[in-house]
Point group: C2
Chain length 588, copies 2
């Protein structure tokens, strides 16, 4: 039994100054967590209960698919991460440190390398496979901007698992087992989720899906088709590539285009002074060239120009996802000056491409197909070129998904309009393939006595982040509303009487009966605290069932409040235990 | 049910090269842990089970005394540890790092500061106290020489708790509650322990006791009285100070003492050339002066001379414990040269002391009482002085417990001979007092509306170290022998048959019945592994009860082996479940 008279907690009436999102505000106000460091939180007793409930659900479902729990150190030697180049690729996101002898260490952000080496250490035959291993462990990432409380911290609890198989069929099965387990986990946690296609990011590998909780304050944008079941992280959305054009276009002509700093003004100018015979010019006819600086983790930088239709915005996050682990930003003034061929506002692809004179790398959006003609900069101040044709007048070095996906864009599967939504990543399943096994030499003998490289999957769930996501999903202006599976207690008993009076005696007896019936009881037995304050705290703390023992005891009743539905119901004291047990059993 | 056919484990027949102590060797060989980094170990599934069993016992007993579980980050900002000077005092033992913005962090070795600030953050009145909080958390210490596997690692699991009280009576009660809980914990774990008086070390504070597991390979030396119940860490042993001497001694005389490099040769020389009238000279009559360099955590060093009777050895560890957080080492040649007054081999206290001409600090063992006369160096080469009297011919700056405690030394309580033993620290209870609350401003309003400083205790248990200590205590040349409370399973079933044969079918049925009876079952269902190997693995893994299903099945029997007693017993198959349930129930 948890007694509020004794519990280490202080509820706050006011929002903490630094809390931007509801989950953060309410978890602090209700006494679940306290900030201890930038991006680091202390779990108070109530929060710790919720976190351990989530952990238990995760553990049970991982065990159910035959995954086995292990536990690695968080402080890891550099050399292993050097082998896979992640020591460098992680860039500033990695916490690095030296020991007293000057040897390099890192705080593990994920453990692919360590798991790979562990399996290599113990296993040597196809008979040993498949095996799936997992840990529930504190992870570290030096986030540039830790924010939103537990949603994006620098120290957080994760379940990470890794599967090891002899072949692709095995990997597919391990992947699907994890995917199914994740569906069960989030269902049990009561946390709504969407499964979206994802990029592989810094991990390498092939098939990859994210579990997103659809939350307005989430940092991830994803699309879903309004008709079919396609959904993807925006970074991973693929554009259906139109066929190449085969109709010939007239030769390129240059036109004076003074005072056309924007695509809109350019289109206006053309429609006034250089009318098309067939129809009006639109932004879609123009090719916008964006100059970027691409920084590799080892510090080297490269200038990259990306061409997209003038009516679309460039999405740096999508570009970065495809160039990962490199980081991308618009080229700054000083570096622009180093490339005099690039005339700001009038850049055209005629001078771009690795095989051009400038040698500047040039990538285009997939919609810029070979044979298509564009209005674009003439690389001369105040001048644009018409009929600049891809593969005739310029040669891109490749394509890249670069434009911002917007609502109404066609679904790559069925061409119906896409919808845009926001969410937070709560899980990730990922077919790593042989990348790590290759680099670290994890092979086993197959049935024919031949060494084969093992194929791997990696699978993560943000355990502490799940707590915040649930809080973000289930709350109102009064406070939290925990799903029953992870609530810090099954029932929150509010005693409105004073210690020793009839109400308190009856309430204490009821609490003992609840407990005897196997319920976890949180009881507000504080003296000197008004019923009003107790009600407010009960709503803030958010246990799904609140039982008030008060005046209605005179009629032999207690009041049962449903925190989710917001309803009150008188229940006979004698029936209270069976009533609440039934609520807990049915998960209501 | 844990199936060895599936379990992620490989037992090793040979000892790992780097394993010095039995627990380390056997935990690796039996597949409980693997080395992952210097002083960092990965818990494999079997080890993880044992660790979590220990954790569960610790948690239950902490909850039982009303302590409440919280959880802090391990990555902590420097400023808090700066306030208490521990950022500096911890010296090289602290892992320090910088984040991407260059801010200083540390990996928490203990969390006194954080707990103090948390209570300050939430509580403000005497009515809130007492409160005890704890966490079970991964800790970091940059040990100079990580060794002995889990016994001295750099990343390890600890339960640390902290009590907060309004006054000394409260602190005494909290301290005793923890001490009692620790006794219950170690009893439940089946781990023999000794409670010894301890020094406060880098923590500050007053009353302090250690729980030591009496293990030959332990790093701590402790004494216990052969008669009374006195016991103490050698650092904390106090010497009964003899009364000052009042009989006058003759004036100091210098004597030539060529070729007397050792105390023994000096005593011989005196007994030959300068006989005492009353009795022979002994080492006890001489005063040996040891020159040390004392390095403070901030890097400043000081020369310190310590005088002890010539028949005793100096114990640098004891000296260091008393000068903590400073570190101590013998003064090296180069620094000796900077103090020409110190004539090596002939140093006498006549020129020492802060108020002497040299100004060199001089401390003496408590047995060097005021009024006592000594043979000591004359500060002239090849010359000693006789009748050098404390407080007449020299003035120490104080006393220090400096001599190595040896078996037979008198007990400070009852003067009976002390015994010396070795052990490993598995727990520590400690009255911190007001040190941290003072520095960090943790005050509450008392009953009279006055701000009073809170008084604290800190209490630690090495959770991962307990696993190793238990392994160190319970093993033989064949393998581990777990106490039942923390064994990875209740029963280890060895199936000597092949899958599908009569023996296997009966064994699988028995396993299912064991499980239905609430037992955790580890079953060796591997095919293609000989019974001999299975028996060896069962002994190595060390589950307390081993049930062999084999040939004796023909007579309706299984064989029940007691791993601790080393006995075998045929038991009727039909009685096997009730028999093993009874063993588990009675803890045998």
């Amino acid at each position: 039994m948890i007694r509020l008279s004794h519990l280490f907690v202080r509820t706050l009436r006011d929002d903490p100054a630094d809390a931007e999102v509801p989950s953060h505000r309410l978890l602090i106000r209700a006494g679940y967590i306290r900030r201890a460091a930038p991006g680091g939180y202390t779990w108070l007793p109530l929060g710790w209960r919720v976190l351990r409930n989530v952990e238990r659900v995760v553990r049970e479902e991982m065990d159910a698919i035959g995954a086995q729990e292990v536990h690695f150190p968080a402080l890891l030697p550099r050399d292993v991460y050097e082998t896979t180049n992640r020591w460098t690729e992680y860039g500033d996101n990695l916490f690095r440190l030296k020991d007293r002898k000057g040897a390099d260490y890192l705080l593990g952000p994920t453990h692919e390398e360590m798991f790979t080496l562990l399996v290599k250490d113990l296993y040597s035959s196809y008979k040993d496979l498949p095996v799936s291993l997992y840990q529930i462990q504190t992870k570290y990432r030096d986030e540039a901007r830790p924010r939103a409380g537990l949603l994006r911290g620098r120290e957080f609890l994760m379940k990470d698992s890794y599967s090891f198989d002899i072949n692709d069929e095995g990997l597919t099965k391990s992947y699907n087992d994890h995917r199914d387990a994740y569906e069960r986990i989030f269902s049990r946690l009561g946390l709504p989720y969407v499964i979206v296609k994802a990029m592989s990011g810094a991990m390498g590998g092939s098939m990859s899906e994210e579990f997103l909780a659809p939350i307005e304050v989430g940092e991830d944008t994803f699309v879903r088709c309004s008709q079919c079941d396609y959904s993807a992280n925006t970074e991973a959305v693929t554009t259906a590539t139109p066929p190449a054009e085969t109709n010939p276009y007239p030769d390129t002509t240059n036109v004076d285009t003074p005072s056309t700093p924007t695509i809109a003004s350019l289109v206006d100018f053309l429609n006034t002074h250089h009318k098309r015979p067939d129809r009006a010019w639109t932004g879609e006819d123009t090719l916008k060239n964006v100059v970027l600086s691409v920084r590799q983790p080892d510090g080297t930088t490269e200038v990259l120009v990306i061409g997209v239709p003038g009516n679309r915005e460039v999405d740096l996050k999508r570009i970065e996802a495809q160039l990962s682990p490199a980081e991308v930003e618009p080229l700054d003034e000083a570096n622009f000056a180093k490339h005099p061929a690039l005339i700001r506002g009038y850049i055209g692809p005629q001078i771009l491409g690795e095989r051009s004179n400038t040698g500047i790398r040039y990538l285009v959006d997939p919609s810029v197909v070979p044979g298509s003609a564009w209005v674009t900069g003439a690389n001369i101040p105040n001048t644009h070129s018409l009929n600049v044709v891809n593969s005739r007048d310029f040669t891109p070095d490749g394509t890249i998904e670069a434009v911002e996906v917007t609502a109404g864009d066609p679904c790559p599967l069925c061409s119906s309009p896409l919808e845009i939504a926001r969410g937070i990543e709560i899980g990730h399943v990922f077919q790593l393939g042989k990348k790590y096994a290759d680099k670290l030499g994890l092979t086993v003998l197959d049935q024919n006595g031949k060494q084969v490289v093992v194929t791997m999957g990696s699978y993560g769930i943000g355990v502490s982040r799940a707590v915040a996501s649930i809080a973000e999903t289930f709350h109102d202006e009064l406070g939290l509303k925990w799903p029953r599976a992870i609530a810090p207690a099954d029932v929150h008993v509010v005693i409105t009487g004073k210690p020793g009076d009839e109400i308190s005696v009856a309430a204490e007896k009821l609490c003992a009966e609840f407990e005897a019936a196997g319920l976890e009881v949180l009881v507000d037995d504080r003296s000197g605290v008004s019923p009003g304050v107790k009600f407010k705290d009960a709503e803030l703390i958010g246990v799904p069932t609140i039982v008030v023992v008060g005046k209605s005891l005179a009629e032999g009743n207690v009041e049962v409040r449903d925190r989710h539905a917001g309803t009150n119901q008188p229940v006979a004291l004698l029936q209270a235990v069976s009533h609440v047990v039934e609520l807990a059993r049915t998960g209501k």
